[in-house]
Every structure is written in C-alpha cells, then in structure tokens.
C-alpha cells in the first residue's frame, strides 16, 4: 500500500510538473520535451490502474511517434529564442477559469458519490482487466467495427497527407525556375 501511494504521488507529481513545464517553458523544444515527460508519467499511472496495454500504447504512439514528429518540426524551424512569454494576463484568467471549471466538475463526480448517478453497477475489476489478451479480444469481437474502421480512417488520412504534401510533377521543375 505504501509503495502504491508512493508510486502514485511520484508519477502524479511528475505529470503535473511536466505539464506546467509545457505551458511555462520559453523554448518550444523544452515544452515538447516536458510534454513527453507528462505522457510517460501518465503512462506510468495507467500501469497502476491495471491498464497495461493502454500504458504501452500511450508511450509507443504518443512518445514514440507523435511527439517525435513535433520535436522534429521544432528542430527544423530553428526557433532558438521566442519573444517573451506569450501568456498575457487576460489569457491567464481564461486558463484559470477553464481549469477550475474542469476541476470542479471532475471532483464532483469523485467526491460527491451520494449525488452521483446510479449508473449500471460497476463490476469489480477482473484480474485480467486491461491486459493485452483482454484488450485484443474485445478489439476483435465487441469493437471489431471501430477497429476496422480506424484502418479506413487512417487510409483517408494517408491519402490526404499525400495529396497536400506531394509536389505536382508538372509544376515541379519549370515553374520553380520561372518564379526565380
């Protein structure tokens, strides 16, 4: 129990600190790396919630792919110094307001159980909850359609990215010279 609490507080604090780092860092690269830290910390928290597959998927997808691309872009943009802090006071108020709102609504569900809605009785967590075979089984049975549909969705995304990024062959050599 002690260890569990320790684990939670360590990674919870890490996630929060890194989250602050994302917002407060002056350099975009530091923000991006802080975001990586947040994601790893959150993955660690998923592990504690027995969502093993989710934890690893989070790291592989977000840390290993999405954030690498962001970091990639930042490094190519060569943003050495950003001018001052983009957060003006009025934005701070907005941020604080939204954060408080979300906090209140999230806390409400957690703390005030008596007012909570009597949803379907939540079954106690089965021993294989969140493990890879369980997730795989539900992906290929109950959630087969979304799983396959995501494949089509990604195809659409790939086609879209290609359409937007590809240089049209006919305009490639001649027009560029003309522009010069």
């Amino acid at each position: 129990m002690m260890l569990n609490a320790l684990y939670f507080w360590f990674f919870g604090t890490l996630a929060a600190v890194c989250g602050l780092g994302v917002v407060l860092s002056r350099h975009p690269m530091h923000s991006a790396i802080s975001l990586v830290g947040t994601m790893i910390a959150i993955a660690a928290l998923f592990l504690q919630l027995h969502s093993e597959f989710l934890a690893y998927a989070q790291i592989i997808v977000y840390t290993g792919a999405v954030m690498v691309l962001i970091v990639f872009t930042i490094s190519l943009l060569n943003l050495r110094q950003t001018a001052g802090n983009p957060m003006c006071p009025s934005r701070w108020w907005g941020v604080v307001f939204v954060a408080l709102l979300l906090l209140v609504f999230s806390a409400y569900q957690l703390i005030d159980k008596s007012h909570g809605f009597a949803g379907p009785a939540r079954p106690s967590v089965p021993p294989d909850y969140g493990q890879v075979p369980t997730v795989a089984r539900s992906l290929f049975t109950t959630y087969l359609f979304p799983f396959e549909f995501v494949a089509v969705l990604l195809t659409a995304a790939v086609i879209g990215a290609t359409v937007l990024a590809r240089q049209d062959p006919e305009q490639h050599p001649t027009e560029q010279e003309e522009q010069k």
Partner: protein
C-alpha cells in the same frame, strides 16, 4: 519477513544481471575490435593484458579521465539529459528478458526463482515502448549540441528509427501470434527443446514466415541500433560523428555503452522470440535451470558476432536508399509476412483442431 526476502531476491537479481550486462557491454566492445581486426586480417587490440583482455578497463579509465566539453551555445539541460535518455531505456530493457526457466540454485533455495528480473504481462510492448523513448536520447543529443552535423545526424536517426520501428513491430508480430501472448516468458515457454520447436523454424506455419520474420527483425534491429550498414546518424564521412560530435568523456561513453547495450538487448529479444529462448537445440541436451542460461548466452553471443560480422562486411547505405528500402521493401514484406503467418496458423489450428 516473507516480503523482505522477496525484495532481497529481486535486489540480488537486479545487481547480478546488471553487473553481468555492464561487463558484457565492456567486452562486447573488445569482441568487436578483435573480430573486426580478424576480418580485416590484423590483430586488433593485443597489448593491454593477455590477448588484450584488459583493454576495456583501459578504455574506461581513459574516458573517465578525459576532459568534459560542453559547447557554449548548447542547451545545457538537454545536453546532459540526452545521454541519460539514451542509456536509461537501453539498460531498462534487459529487466524483462527471461534468461532461463526457474532455478533453485542446486537446492540452495526451497522455492525456485525465476531467471528473469520481472515477468511483466506486456513484456514485448514494454521493450517497444522503451525503444521509442530511446529515440529522444539521440535526437536531443544532436539538437542540443547546436551543431549542424549533429542536428542532421539526429534528424536522420529519428526518421530512420521511426521508419524501422514499424517493421520491427510487424516482424515480431509473427512470433506473438504463434505464441498467443506478449509476455516474453510465455513466448519462450511456448517453444521447446530442439531447434524445430523454435518459432523461426516452427511447423505451425510453412517455415517461411518464421525465417522471414527473423531476418526482418534482424535487419530492422540493425537500423534501430544505428549499426552498419544503417549507421547514417553518425556517418563519419558526411557528418563528422553525427549526433555525438560534441560529446566527450563520460557523456560520450554513455552513448557508446547504450549502443552496445542495445545490441545485446535486441539479440536477447531475437533469441527469446525466434530462437527458442533458453531451450537447447537438441532435446537430449539439458536446458533446465542454469543450463538454460548457458544456452541463452551462447545464442546471444552468436547473434552479437553476426552484428559485428555484418559491420565488417557491408558498406553503408545512402540515406534515400535506406528510407526507400524501409518503406518500399521491408514494410510490405513485413505486412505480407504477418498475413502469411496468420493464414498458416489458422490452417494449422484447423488441421489439428486446437
């Protein structure tokens, strides 16, 4: 008392495994230099100690005593963080590798213990996750050095690693499907004594997917570890020394160690997934307990030698060739291989009514 003992055993396991691993890393360097020497018809290091056996210690001392340099315009925090990010995941990955079945240390213990630091359910995913974090070590090293060669090396490496990670993931899928699990221990257990029971040659499919999967894995492992012929991030003819140009002393040593550590880790994974883990190549040979560890070590040793052999033999690819090869040859092959293996397993199970 009971928990304390468990903790103690775990602590011991960690210490033993990591000291052996660090020793292996040091001597892998020596092995590489020696083997490369032989491949190029020369001796390799032979002066320090008998047959040059003390060379790693001398190298270590040299690196310790070198001057630390940090470029003035470097991003200091990330410059220091980068080698740690490179080394950390590399070392961590060994924690889930099963070196053998169980042992009670020749009757010393009444309870057999696992020959593995941690048998976690999502073993192979854990390793993939660590690999994906490892990219940051190289990338941040290149970026924070504020040196264009370093940055180019870093960009190359991250693009290369992302591209080949896909193939890596798909090639191991074959073994995962056959074993029906992702825990490394269970995957190893699903194989058996006798090389025909290893997933590389398994009759569960028509042999081909196993062999193809193994080689796809091996090739993408070369790319993942930035080894020749895929060592473009540090191609010295174009990029000085790539991402670690600005690093010196211990920080450089950490990148160096991370590379060899990665070689050992990917070899361990290959052995666990495809080469039967700790099982003996023939059923009449013993493979229980610590014997398993011996077989495991032998297989890993052979694979590490293959890594060195390839480095001594093949020239470096050009960058566009590397990318084209990854996306247009390796990836389609890997996808086809997964389908082939799935079909094979389905047929096999229909045949045997599993």
């Amino acid at each position: 008392m009971e928990t304390l003992l468990v903790l103690l055993i775990h602590l011991l396991k960690i210490i033993v495994v990591f000291s052996i691993l660090l020793g292996c890393i040091a001597y892998a360097v020596l092995l590489e230099r020696k083997l490369l020497g032989r491949l190029q018809v020369r001796w390799g290091p032979s002066r320090v100690g008998p047959f040059g056996l003390l060379q790693p210690i001398a190298d270590g001392l040299k690196l310790f005593l070198k001057e630390e340099l940090t470029p003035t315009r470097a991003d200091r925090f990330l410059f220091v963080l980068a080698p740690l990010l490179s080394m950390g995941p590399a070392l961590l990955a060994i924690a889930v590798v099963p070196f053998g079945d169980t042992t009670n240390l020749f009757g010393l213990l009444d309870q057999p213990i696992l020959l593995q630091i941690a048998d976690i359910h999502g073993g192979i995913l854990f390793i993939l996750a660590l690999t994906s974090v490892g990219v940051y070590g190289i990338f941040l090293a290149g970026w924070s050095s504020d040196n264009k060669y370093s940055l180019l090396g870093a960009l190359r490496s991250s693009a290369q690693m992302i591209s080949y990670e896909l193939v890596l993931g798909l090639s191991i899928t074959v073994a995962l499907m056959a074993a029906g699990d992702v825990s490394l221990r269970n995957i190893a257990l699903s194989q058996g004594d006798g090389f025909w029971n290893w997933w590389i040659f398994s009759p569960k499919w028509f042999v081909l997917p196993g062999i193809l999967g193994f080689f796809l894995y091996l090739i993408s492992a070369f790319a993942e570890t930035n080894r020749l012929p895929f060592d473009l991030p540090e191609a010295e003819t174009e990029l000085v020394a790539g991402y670690h140009t600005e690093y010196s002393s211990m920080k450089f040593a950490m990148f160096f160690m991370a590379e060899y550590c990665n070689i050992i880790t990917v070899s361990c994974i290959a052995v666990t997934l495809f080469l039967g883990g700790w099982y003996a190549p023939f059923p009449f040979l013993p493979s229980g307990g610590l014997f398993g560890c011996v077989w495991f070590a032998v297989k890993v040793f052979i694979l590490v030698c293959v890594f060195i052999w390839v480095r001594g033999t093949l020239p470096r690819l050009r960058y566009d060739q590397l990318m084209k090869f990854g996306w247009k040859v390796m990836l389609p092959l890997a996808i086809a291989n997964v389908l082939l293996a799935a079909g094979g397993i389905l047929l096999y199970e229909m045949w045997h009514g599993s």
